[in-house]
Subunit: 378 residues, 2 copies
């Protein structure tokens, strides 16, 4: 993996780059749709490609439990399994162990947890997390980290950083033999809750170890937005210019734009896809709740500026009907649209950075996005 910086914004820390991998290049800033169980819910890989997905995130925790990394490995790896030819980033499973499973016992060696599917007990070590991701054939592998919720008291946050750093070191040590191709990359994860000194310390130590990229984890877990922003800011400051920076689990369009201005390159979030399945989509004029009665006879597409299959072919009235009637085509068409909206937003943002007009683009985008005009919000 190689990361090339293409352009730095003069008025902010925003930057445009490109991640080169054996499976194709990824233009940054990039939004990675979440394909938890080896599928971005409701969409085919063909559609994902059509709407502009460059890289997909898959969840190691889920795939380890079902169908199992060994099964996927035997079947030729995750790309082959889900028929997605472009790059895949896998998380380490750390976040899910802490958010989804019961009975988490954190030891120096790793974490004992119970499956959210059947209650069975499992043990995951940093070494195993790397091996699993290697077996899946991931292009971007994440080290196992210890996540804490918000708020977390200082001793807990400190222990979590210590474990995260210890695990990062052990991950790196086993990385070379476990990786699936010579080109795949290993990212370290900055933890430290909302404690400035812990964040700095964690980031510094990771940079010293040396990774192909750096993630900022443990945010978007309930802390105030100002804290997210502050922690992102000071983490980024410790990270090397020449490596990609990935803010995990973010987020809403305005949060992404804000973080890009802070110098972040990569994002993932289940929110656009999850919201779409519940009938809330993102548009250039803000969020639109498809089920609302006001759309019952609305002939307009979800977003009049959108070029996706949904917007080119179906009215809000039809989408509303599909959701009212519980038809699966509803979540599907809504997901297609919302992801296309995110990808278009990222592409436009990148162009604006390349052309040194990011601040103007940002102001224009947000003015329209926050206006609610044309979506029936007055």
């Amino acid at each position: 993996m190689e990361f090339q910086l293409k352009h730095n914004d003069s008025e902010s820390n925003a930057r445009a780059g490109v991640i080169l991998t054996e499976r194709g290049s990824v233009e940054t800033p990039v939004f990675m749709p979440v394909g938890t169980q080896a599928t971005v819910k409701t969409l085919s890989p063909h559609e994902l490609e059509q709407i502009g997905a460059q890289i997909v995130l898959a969840n190691t925790y889920h795939l380890y439990l079902r169908p199992g990394h060994e099964v996927i490995g035997e079947l030729g790896g995750l790309h082959e399994f889900m028929n997605w030819k472009k790059p895949i980033l896998t998380d380490s499973g750390g976040f899910q162990v802490f958010s989804l499973s019961d009975l988490r016992v954190v030891r120096k060696e790793g974490v004992v947890f119970r499956s959210h599917l059947d209650g069975s007990e499992h043990f995951i070590s940093p070494e195993l997390a790397i091996q699993i991701q290697g077996r899946l054939g991931s292009d971007v592998v994440m080290t196992l980290d210890q996540c804490v919720g918000y708020p977390a008291d200082l001793p807990l946050a400190k222990r979590a950083v210590e474990n995260t750093l210890d695990w990062a070191e052990r991950s790196k040590a086993v990385w070379k033999e476990a990786r699936s191709s010579n080109d795949s990359a290993l990212f370290g994860i900055v933890q430290g809750s909302t404690y400035e000194s812990l964040r700095r310390q964690c980031a510094k130590a990771l940079v010293e170890m040396g990774f192909d990229g750096y993630a900022i984890g443990g945010l978007s877990v309930g802390e105030p937005r100002s804290a997210t922003s502050e922690m992102t800011e000071l983490s980024v400051r410790e990270l090397p210019e020449r490596k990609p920076r990935y803010l995990m689990g973010v987020g809403f369009p305005d949060d992404i734009i804000h973080a890009v201005a802070q110098g972040v390159d990569m994002f993932d979030c289940v929110m656009p896809t999850r919201n779409a399945r519940n009938g809330t989509v993102f548009t250039s004029r803000g969020k639109l709740v498809v089920k609302n009665i006001e759309y019952a006879k609305d002939r307009r597409p979800l977003d009049e500026e959108c070029d996706c299959y949904t917007c080119r072919n179906f009215s809000r009235a039809y989408l509303r009907h599909l959701f009212q009637a519980g038809e699966l085509l509803g979540p599907r068409l809504a997901t297609l649209h919302s992801l296309r909206f995110f990808f278009r937003m990222m592409a436009e943002m990148r162009s604006s950075i390349m052309e040194s007009r990011f601040s103007q683009w940002r102001a224009d985008f947000l003015r329209k996005y926050e206006s609610g005009e044309g979506i029936g919000v007055h």
Copy 2:
């Protein structure tokens, strides 16, 4: 609407034809996928076209209740609403009133029923059924009929035929003004339960009134297969050579082939799509239950002879995983495949009729279909 007979099989009553409509032609024998609520569940209209759907069936009962024919009418009709440009056949609502709703009071004037959605009371007359279908913009309109279950005693079956004939006559009377285009067609429906004399009488009377096509209704409701076959046989015998014949609610591949040999031209059934959503798909080697453990590491496509997107891109192992994990892509990919299987079967059957080798094709198809070879059934 015009129906042209292209070729009659010399060894059976099978025939190949074409139905010409303003919205395109339909080659018969044809299988019509069911789009109950203005969507063939899980699929986009673009996909339907790609896999070879020529005409779609929509349910008047469901659309009358939700979102309402007036809403669909205001939005430009059903084709515009669901973005399906090819022909649409709408049923009359009769079957659903009798199978889905509570409190059915059948009067000479029509039927009083309660909505299965909210219990509200509704009245549907033959005239209203025609008006609703006209408002939807249907290409092939069905007259309101009275369906009876199986078994039905003779007096009930007799009354149902009387009502069906009376309603057919009244439907025809209001038909000209209500129809949505000069080209749309009106079909009468043969009822009569499993009583030979009633079936004959009903068919004869309908033919005397004169319709653009004739449906055989009230079958596939629990009667033995021999009865379905017998009733189809004697109904067809009464129907004119030059008009299309439609066996409603049928069916499995072997049932369809059997009925084609009897001279039936049109079919519809929810079974391939419903089964697919539950993880049972049709293949050239018979039915395949995707969830079975034996497919957990099976790299083969659902059907090695199939050319659909699902079979070209995904393994049985992946499909099984999607169903195990409750992922919506599973039902979607399975539906796509099973419908493609039906459309290919119909197209191959038609070619065999055109080329005077229907009996051979039928024997070959069924031998393979019933072998279970290659789907793990031994």
